[in-house]
Structures are given as structure tokens and as C-alpha cells.
């Protein structure tokens, strides 16, 4: 079995037992990238030289017998909206084609301190706006299960790279489903942590109140290992929350006896593919067989979550993306006449259509005379949605739903219909609106052999409960399988 096919936890053990070196592992990952990247196109920027150097450094430390993190020497890919000092961070936008951050995101410092080896920067929807990675200025990443299909988005590069063995694991970011949806489409495990648990410092903002960095891996254990490293209070992020340190991996247990799982009927209605519905319900039944208690619940405001999400996220985006003006960094239009023309040309030439759409929607909902009817209403709905979850979590431990209503669609299928594209986020956005943790784990395949994801939603900071539930299910279902490329 090739190294790229193994899980992070397996590889961490092999490194610790000195069966392999990080240099060997890193090289094998880059060999794999060389072999399949043409088909998948997951990376925007490769970091091969630095990665190999870092791997050798870690090998020295391992040979000295230093007590290292399980991430030490593990090749990890980073979504291209996470700032990497000295390594360009494009957000898959023309706007930041040559932008090289002079600082590291807090999560990068944490990964580097743990000895992770950075393989490169992964493709995404431009500024994380999209559900298919098709809005990237650079390339269209393909689904490893079917290269005529999208890998999901916006962390499509991250999910595809992990599924295709081009990275052992990856970091993604999730504003409305951007970790969970591609994880579901690519048959890997993705965790969107509680808002405020992982520092956003250095994550290029899309929607500040919803964005959260999280891990994508081949197994629940892999995701638990990374989450243990990246989470925690950061004084550089005013929205991060102080919590006691938890070693999620050490606390993993597969016992679900007595665990109360809620099934919200609103997530199994119109638009949910039959294959998806039956796979998810099967997974729930299997957990019931292990002693979990299944309970139907209702989250009536779910219908409005998508609207609330698009208003809040676009409003914040319109403001967050105003800084790209051709002055301090990034692209500037070549020809212009005066300041305002320079701004307009730079932004019109530097941003793609989806980004422009969201900026305009966001500007519109905040503009004079419309604020109350849109933004304020969306914020009120957000509070209502959040309260519904809080009420339900008084009686149950975990909520189970499909991650996405369907499996991966064809490249170009929804590209020209934003509303259809947005509808694929229906099961995931609510969780960001409520600031809750959620994960997607593979729970089967549809008739075309495309992966289906089970979404597990937990109460705030209940990551351990989520991981345990997912871990229990993974034991029943079996672990990661590499798609045939």
C-alpha cells in the first residue's frame, strides 16, 4: 500500500516507530501530486522545496527522540485563503495573484509549531464564494470520483487533494458549508468547528461572523488530531473564545449507548435526493443499533436560513472585500483615469462575477433605505434560528442530517444559475448562522458511485460529542477508501 493512501494517524505511528521518515513521506506525497494533479488540479501553489526541507528538519528532531505532536512530519495542504508567511495566498482570485503575506495565520503558527509539513496552497472558489470551486480564477478542480464533476466548494481543492492522496490532510474554511459540502462530495471527513474555537487571524475574511477554519481528513481520528492542534483562544482574534485545552483524539470513544440523536424533519423534505435520504437514514439506524436513541425534532425556521445566510454573508463580504482597491497590495488595473476610475477598473478586472454579485447584494442590503428590510430582518432570523437549536439541544446530543441534498453535480451544471447553486447549501448554512460545530462523514454512495455525506451537528463547543458519534459510525461503516483515478 502506498503511503499517500494511509491516514494521518497511521502515518504518525509509522513516523514515531521510525518505519518511515518524513522526507520519504513528503516525497511520496509530491510523487502522487505529480502523478494525479493534472487530472485533479487541486493546488494553486506548490511548496515542494520548503516542504522537503521542513521534513528533513523534523526527521532530525524525530531521530533525537524529541516528544513531538502527532502532526510532526505530516504533509498537510492549506486552503489558499489562509495566510502563509512568504508563500503566496491568492484566495483563488486574480486580485491577489502575487500577494505574499508578511505574516502567518495563527493556525499556520500552530501547525508549524507542531511540525506539520506544508505541501502547498489549495484551490477554492474565489474568496470562498461558491459551492463548486468553479469560481476560482486559476483552475477548476475535479472530483476524484468523477472528473467531469465538481469537488464541491468552496474548499474544493482541500477535499479533492485529501481524497486523491495529494495531501494527508488539509485545512479548509467554512462560511456556509465550505468544508462539509466538499468533504461530502469527495468522500472524506470534514469538521466545521464552533464559531470562536479556532482563531480566524490570518484567514482572509469572507463573512467574519460566520467564517471558521477547520480540518479535512481521511478519518475521524485524523480530523480530531488536527482540531486538537488548531483550536484554542487567540488574543489576536477578538471573536475567539477561551476554552480549556482538549485532546480530542485521546478522548475519542465509539460508545453511543444512550446518545440522543435528533432527526429534523425539515432536512429530509423536498429536494433531497432519495439515495442521499436512504443512506443518511441507514447510518442513523446503524447508530440506533448501537444503542443511540433516535428522536424526530423540528427546526421550523430552517426554511429562512438560506436567505438570512445570503444577506448576512454578502453584507459582511461587501465590506470585507472593499479593501481590494489596488493601493496597498494585489492587482491594480493598468489603465485608468483618476482615483475613482482606478478603483472601479481594478475591482471590476480583479474580481470574478460571483464575487461581484455578492458584493453588490451585500452593498444593496446595507444601503440606505433597505437595511431594516434585509440586514436587520436577517439578523433577527439568525437569533430565532439559533434559539431553536438551543431549545433542541436541551433534550438531544447530536442532530443528524444529510450534508448536501444531492451528490456532486457536473462541472458547469449550475454555474449560470446562482440561486440553484445557493440551494445546494440548504443543509449547511443554518449551522454557520447558529455558530454551531458540525461535521460531514462519508455514509455511502449513490447509483453513480458518488459519495454521500452524513452531517452531524452538535451544541456549541460539543466537538468531542460530534467526533465520538462520527467515530462510532466510522467503526461500523469502515474507513477511508481511495477513489480510482
Amino acid at each position: 500500500m502506498e503511503l499517500y493512501n494511509k491516514t494521518l494517524s497511521e502515518l504518525a505511528l509509522m513516523l514515531r516507530e521510525k518505519k518511515i521518515s518524513s522526507a520519504e513521506l513528503t516525497k511520496s506525497i509530491f510523487d502522487r501530486i505529480e502523478a494525479v494533479e493534472d487530472k485533479i488540479e487541486a493546488y494553486v501553489t506548490l511548496n515542494k522545496e520548503n516542504a522537503l526541507k521542513a521534513a528533513e528538519e523534523i526527521d532530525k528532531k524525530i531521530s533525537c527522540g524529541e516528544d513531538l505532536s502527532p502532526l510532526a512530519g505530516i504533509p498537510i495542504g492549506i486552503k489558499d485563503n489562509i495566510s502563509t508567511k512568504g508563500l503566496r495566498t491568492t484566495c483563488s482570485s486574480k486580485m491577489l495573484e502575487n500577494y505574499v503575506p508578511p505574516f502567518n495565520a495563527t493556525v499556520m503558527n500552530k501547525l508549524c509549531d507542531a511540525g506539520a509539513v506544508i505541501t502547498g496552497k489549495l484551490n477554492m472558489d474565489e474568496f470562498a464564494m461558491g459551492s463548486s470551486t468553479e469560481t476560482s480564477y486559476y483552475k477548476k478542480t475535479k472530483n476524484p470520483y468523477d472528473q467531469t464533476r465538481i469537488p464541491g466548494g468552496s474548499s474544493g481543492g482541500s477535499a479533492a487533494a485529501v481524497a486523491a492522496g495529494e495531501a494527508v490532510a488539509a485545512l479548509g474554511s467554512d462560511t456556509g458549508g465550505s468544508i462539509r459540502q466538499p468533504a461530502s462530495y469527495c468522500g472524506v471527513v470534514g469538521l466545521k468547528p464552533t464559531y470562536g474555537s479556532v482563531s480566524r487571524f490570518g484567514l482572509v475574511a469572507f463573512a467574519s461572523s460566520l467564517d471558521q477554519i477547520g480540518p479535512i481528513g481521511k478519518s475521524v481520528e485524523d480530523v480530531a488530531i488536527i482540531q486538537s492542534v488548531i483550536n484554542g483562544y487567540d488574543k489576536m482574534d477578538g471573536t475567539s473564545q477561551y476554552r480549556e485545552y482538549t485532546d480530542y483524539k485521546a478522548n475519542l470513544k465509539s460508545d453511543v449507548k444512550g446518545l440522543k440523536i435528533g432527526i429534523p424533519k425539515e432536512y429530509f423534505g423536498v429536494g433531497i435526493d432519495d439515495n442521499v435520504k436512504s443512506s443518511v437514514m441507514n447510518a442513523v439506524k446503524q447508530l440506533e443499533g448501537e444503542g443511540a436513541i433516535i428522536k424526530e425534532i423540528s427546526l421550523p425556521s430552517t426554511d429562512y436560513a438560506l436567505s438570512s445566510y445570503y444577506i448576512i454573508s454578502s453584507a459582511e463580504a461587501s465590506s470585507n472585500l472593499a479593501r481590494y482597491d489596488g493601493v496597498k497590495y494585489g492587482f491594480r488595473a493598468e489603465n485608468y483615469d483618476g482615483l475613482i476610475d482606478m478603483y472601479e477598473r481594478t475591482r471590476s478586472e480583479g474580481f470574478g462575477d460571483e464575487v461581484k454579485r455578492r458584493i453588490m447584494l451585500g452593498t444593496f442590503v446595507l444601503s440606505s433605505g433597505f437595511y431594516d428590510a434585509y440586514y436587520k430582518k436577517a439578523k433577527l432570523l439568525q437569533r430565532r434560528i439559533s434559539n431553536e437549536f438551543t431549545e433542541n439541544f436541551k433534550d438531544i446530543d447530536v442532530i443528524a442530517t444529510p450534508t448536501v441534498p444531492t451528490t456532486a453535480f457536473k462541472i458547469g451544471e449550475h454555474f449560470n444559475d446562482p440561486v440553484k447553486m445557493y440551494a445546494t447549501d440548504i443543509c449547511t448554512v443554518t449551522i454557520n448562522i447558529a455558530g454551531l460545530p458540525a461535521m460531514s462523514i462519508p455514509c455511502g454512495y449513490d447509483n453513480n458511485g458518488l459519495p454521500i455525506g452524513l452531517q452531524l451537528i452538535g451544541d456549541k463547543f460539543a466537538e468531542q460529542t460530534l467526533l465520538n458519534t462520527a467515530y462510532a459510525y466510522e467503526q461500523l461503516k469502515g474507513g477511508f477508501k481511495l477513489p480510482t483515478l
Partner: protein, 89 residues
């Protein structure tokens, strides 16, 4: 409802060509229609006292970055400054 795309584009500092205008208008219209299904809520937004943040201690740190490092991504630099088309306001 009619959305004044040109005005919104101007506020957003985006230049929308006439041939793109219609498409953006239609897209926005669709999105706004989706969004307008929201129910009316007769409540007021409040400030959440339980969501308090920790404030930063007033301490300055100097020489964290060199000017060259910070300006290295700028399209145009002159005499240690960023360069923009002449402003009059």
C-alpha cells in the same frame, strides 16, 4: 422590486459594462426574490452582554516589520509611500 444596479455598482466601486448589466440585474433580482421570502419579525436587535470581549492591554510593540516588508506587495511605491492617482477632496 427594481434594483438600481448602477447605483449599487457605484457604491461598490465596480464598473458594470452595459452588456453585463442585464445579467447582473436578473441575477440580483432572483437572489432578492429568494431573500424576500423571509417572514416579518416584530422584534428589535439587542446587544448581547454575554458576548463580551476581552480588551487588549495598552502596550506598544515596535519594529515588528520593516517598511519594505509591508510595502512589498504594493503596486506602486515612492519615497516609502503608497502611490495613488491625485486626490483632490
Amino acid at each position: 422590486m427594481n434594483i438600481d444596479i448602477k447605483h449599487i455598482a457605484k457604491l461598490s466601486r465596480l464598473k458594470i459594462d452595459d452588456d453585463e448589466l442585464e445579467k447582473f440585474e436578473a441575477d440580483m433580482q432572483n437572489i432578492v426574490e429568494m431573500v424576500e421570502r423571509m417572514p416579518n419579525i416584530d422584534e428589535e436587535l439587542t446587544i448581547d452582554e454575554n458576548n463580551a470581549m476581552k480588551l487588549r492591554e495598552d502596550k506598544a510593540v515596535t519594529n515588528k516589520y520593516t517598511r519594505e516588508e509591508l510595502l512589498s506587495n504594493a503596486p506602486f511605491v515612492k519615497a516609502g509611500c503608497l502611490v495613488v492617482p491625485k486626490t483632490v477632496e
